[in-house]
């Protein structure tokens, strides 16, 4: 087996990964930095983010208000020291991206323009039309090309973290093009592989989002945090699950039921106004809007279609000019994929799995409990998103915590020795495992797609927007069954060259692990908070559950859930109030 060595190794080349790589290269240009990604970096799912990136930009706004919106939006599950660091560094990071050429939308005088977003009391979302993630990712990727210390491993698929002597020492990866299995050693590893939306049948997430990093880290003995908190975005197109950005509502779109009624007023989200009101109605947080949809559906006030119930997003009153200027991608997607022109037609939408608030448990520098192992972006749980992420915080999170992890890893790497021979023995074992379990295996009976479909159905029905003991237990049992059947999969493809069936099989393995963690955490949290709603425990329970779930995998494959207190600094838990003026202000006062 051939071995390659670097000082710092990134797994994943999306927003967080590229930001971390650049940060490390800037801290110490002598370091050798590897970006290992299963797709070309500009294909990473950051590219699909639409609405924008939050960071205080205007004099009427303040860091405390951004922090308060984030913390109350997260139903007080956010670690407040992390949120404070986040809101403080957010504007600098967004500005840095401007310096690298990101085409942010502008005011007429040439300064950065900001837009409103759900759950935010002030306009603070920087945007590049409604292709913000696309522009950020390409800006980062193109900028990264000028850094000599960065080496890319494009289309290399990581199968294992190499751990010895209490620290991570590299990875085993398949060079997908040649099929060669190789070890790449490193003094520090930063996992930036994004989320796991593909565990669910109906998701905005790209095909590559399979929870790879979460499973890799958990298998290496490091816990995942808050995996029960999974965000449904209220506005996805039926069938495809394509996201219609929250910006459509921030620019003034209405959510209406089958009777043309703005139903959100019935769910404690304020009273309808013609113009959008911040933190109210359509600009409420995503968890509340998705939950309102389910209730509306139960009342029979949604529209039934071939692909499930829908409500409508009405942009018609915004006019063609505004839609073209601020929401061109929304129009393009509706016309291309639904044959609907939002300028004069209603857009059918329904809640769709969008974002994993939980992930690899890290501190505010992205460091995990395992030496030399860092994580940033959606794969990580710092945690700034708590029980429900606010729209436009995640792109900024990739930048702020990507940069922090990059710098921290660069510092860590300097003092470390090169990896030892024992990890190379591990790598050889991993190669044998891959060959025996997948490439040279014969006689299996289970098809990958069948298992995947069954997993998606089980998780959707057990751990959807509303959960309860019985359905969660069923899902848990089903997942255990699927894990057993997974050992019996069959591959049609035994080729060495670009074997995507092999990578799909490995991804399915990752997804099953992550799905089990989600269900296990959801079972244990017997309260309702943010995106985790238990019909059998409908109240928030701060006495018992103002704490992060930590889920570990034992060597026998069983899971163990522990709790870690939430860090509260200046904002004691309060009631989440939307659509009214007074109470959020009280919250801020208390905070002082």
């Amino acid at each position: 087996m051939e071995i390659r060595s670097h000082d710092i190794l990134l797994v994943g080349g999306g927003g967080a990964g590229l930001r971390a790589a650049i940060a490390a290269a800037e801290v110490n240009p002598k370091l050798s930095i590897a970006v290992v990604s299963k797709v070309y970096p500009m294909r990473s799912h950051t590219v699909s983010a639409e609405g924008g990136a939050a960071g205080v930009a205007k004099p009427d706004d303040s860091l405390d208000e951004h922090a308060y919106d984030t913390i109350s939006g997260g139903d007080w599950m956010c670690d407040q020291d992390a949120v404070e660091a986040f809101v403080k560094e957010a504007p600098q990071e967004l500005l840095r991206l401007e310096r690298w050429g990101c085409p942010w939308n502008r005011e007429p005088d040439g300064h950065i323009a900001v837009r409103a977003f759900g759950g935010m009391k002030k306009k603070r979302t920087w945007f590049a039309a409604d292709k913000t993630g696309f522009h950020m990712l390409h800006t980062l990727f193109q900028t990264s090309l000028k850094y000599q210390p960065i080496t890319r491993y494009d289309e290399w698929f990581v199968t294992k973290l190499l751990v010895d002597d209490g620290r991570v020492q590299g990875v085993v990866a398949i060079d997908v093009m040649s099929g060669k299995i190789q070890a790449i050693t490193a003094k520090a590893v930063i996992v930036c592989t994004g989320g796991c939306g593909r565990i669910f049948p109906f998701t905005t997430n790209a095909n590559i989002k399979n929870g790879d990093g979460m499973a890799l880290v958990q298998r290496a003995g490091t816990p995942l945090k808050d995996m029960e908190f999974l965000q449904y975005h209220p506005t996805g197109l039926p069938f495809t699950g394509i996201l219609i950005t929250e910006a459509a509502r921030a620019e003034g779109g209405y959510m209406i039921n089958k009777d043309g009624y703005r139903y959100l007023q019935d769910y404690n989200l304020g009273t309808p106004q013609a113009k959008p009101v911040l933190r109210s109605m359509e600009l409420g947080p995503r968890d509340r809007l998705s939950q309102a949809f389910v209730k509306e559906d139960q009342k029979g006030r949604t529209v039934k279609t071939e692909y499930g119930s829908v409500v409508h997003l009405d942009l018609r009153h915004l006019g063609e000019k505004l839609i073209n200027a601020k929401l061109p991608f929304v129009r393009e997607l509706c016309m291309k994929y639904e044959n609907i022109d939002p300028v004069n037609e209603l857009i059918p939408v329904r809640p769709v799995v969008h974002y994993m608030m939980g992930g690899v448990s890290t501190d505010i520098n992205g460091a995990t409990s395992l030496g030399g192992l860092f994580a940033a972006g959606e794969v990580a749980c710092v945690s700034i998103n708590g029980a429900n992420r606010l729209g436009s915080n995640s792109l900024t999170e990739c930048l702020v915590f990507g940069a922090r992890a990059g710098r921290a890893a660069a510092e860590f790497a300097v003092g470390q020795k090169m990896p030892n021979g024992r990890v190379l023995a591990q790598a050889t074992d991993e190669q044998k495992r891959l060959e025996q379990q997948y490439l040279h295996k014969s006689g299996g009976q289970e098809r990958i797609a069948t298992l995947r479909d069954e997993m998606q159905k089980a998780v959707e029905s057990g751990a959807g927007i509303y959960r309860e003991q019985s359905t969660l237990s069923q899902a848990g049992n089903k997942l255990r069954e699927l894990q057993e059947r997974y050992a019996n999969i069959s591959l049609d493809d035994h080729s060495q060259t670009f074997n995507t069936e092999l990578t799909s099989a490995l991804e399915l393995g990752y997804m099953l692990d992550v799905a089990q963690s989600i269900v296990e955490c959801a079972l244990h949290r017997t309260e309702s908070r943010g995106a985790h709603q238990r019909t059998d425990f409908p109240e928030r329970d701060d006495q018992r559950f103002l704490a992060h779930s930590l889920v570990r995998r034992n060597s026998d494959g069983s899971l163990k859930v522990d709790y870690l207190p939430v860090k509260i600094t200046r904002w004691p838990p309060g009631e989440r109030v939307y659509g009214q003026e007074e109470k959020p202000k009280d919250g801020i006062k208390q905070a002082g």
Binding site: V39, S48, L95, R99, G101, P103, G110, K131, L145, D493
Partner: protein, 256 residues
């Protein structure tokens, strides 16, 4: 009649095939399906060894470009219904690229070309972050915005005969991205890039076939970008000709 459509898919297994051949698959004809859905149906249900790239399924990651009935297309945005029930649709890897396997092409050469145009903001000065953003009015943004929409799907390379005949040609997407930075009022690297690209494998390699612009799924207009680039290069050349040691400062001097 059952709703069916036939996909003729180019297959190439480098371990055993000398060259690609076609294999036919019958798939259900569904009005909401795109070509990529049909490929996924085959991979999931019929033949797991079918090899292709895809990811976002919303026309922005740029992975799933293929030749569909001879036209470069994003397969996630190409509906089966545009070919009709019972039709035969031919799916091949993007033209002019080396084929790694089945529908997967080698992109490494494109990445080298992309890097060669220095697609990043070049500055002579680097004011501190505390100095705030570089100002850019909406009008200044609009000048280059179109060229910044490239998703690197490489459909334009598959449409460009010059790429086929002269593999060293830098190509439409990379040149358009160079022009994207040239036209950005924050950038100061236009001169540097012109030196790199005003040669027969750069902008002068383009013979204005115009196909790149026609096939671009994001309306980037690489052909327009390259013609603008040529015009600028020609003007610079004329300027240099009239003012032999001519920089703009020297041109202000009055010479006898």
């Amino acid at each position: 009649m059952a709703e069916k459509i036939v996909l003729e898919i180019a297959r190439y297994a480098p371990e055993k095939d000398e060259k690609p051949s076609f294999q036919s698959f019958e798939v259900p004809f569904r009005k909401e399906w795109v070509v990529l859905d049909a490929l996924n149906h085959i991979k999931d249900k019929v033949d797991g060894s079918l090899t292709y790239r895809w990811s976002c399924r919303m026309g922005v990651c740029g992975s799933c470009g293929m030749m569909v009935n001879g036209e470069p297309k994003l397969t996630c945005a190409t509906f089966l219904s545009s070919y009709g029930n019972g039709a035969t649709v031919r799916v091949e890897p993007l033209r002019y690229f080396p084929v790694i396997r089945d529908l997967v092409t080698a992109l490494s050469d494109f990445l080298v070309k992309l890097q060669s145009v220095k697609p990043w903001l070049i500055r002579k000065d680097e004011p501190p972050l505390s100095a705030g953003e570089f100002l850019q009015t909406p009008e200044q943004l609009d000048i280059y915005k179109q060229f910044s929409m490239c998703i690197n799907c490489t459909l334009c390379y598959a449409a460009c005969p010059v790429v086929g005949l002269e593999p060293t040609f830098v190509g439409p997407a990379a040149l358009a991205l160079a022009q994207r930075y040239n036209m950005d009022n924050r950038d100061q690297g236009a001169e540097e890039r012109l030196g790199l690209l005003a040669h027969p494998e750069g902008i002068w390699g383009c013979t204005f076939v115009g196909e790149c612009t026609r096939v671009c799924p994001k309306h980037v207009d690489p052909a327009g970008a390259i013609q603008q680039y040529k015009l600028k290069a020609a003007l610079e050349w004329v300027k240099g000709f009239i003012l032999p040691r001519g920089s703009e400062d020297q041109s202000k001097e009055v010479r006898p």
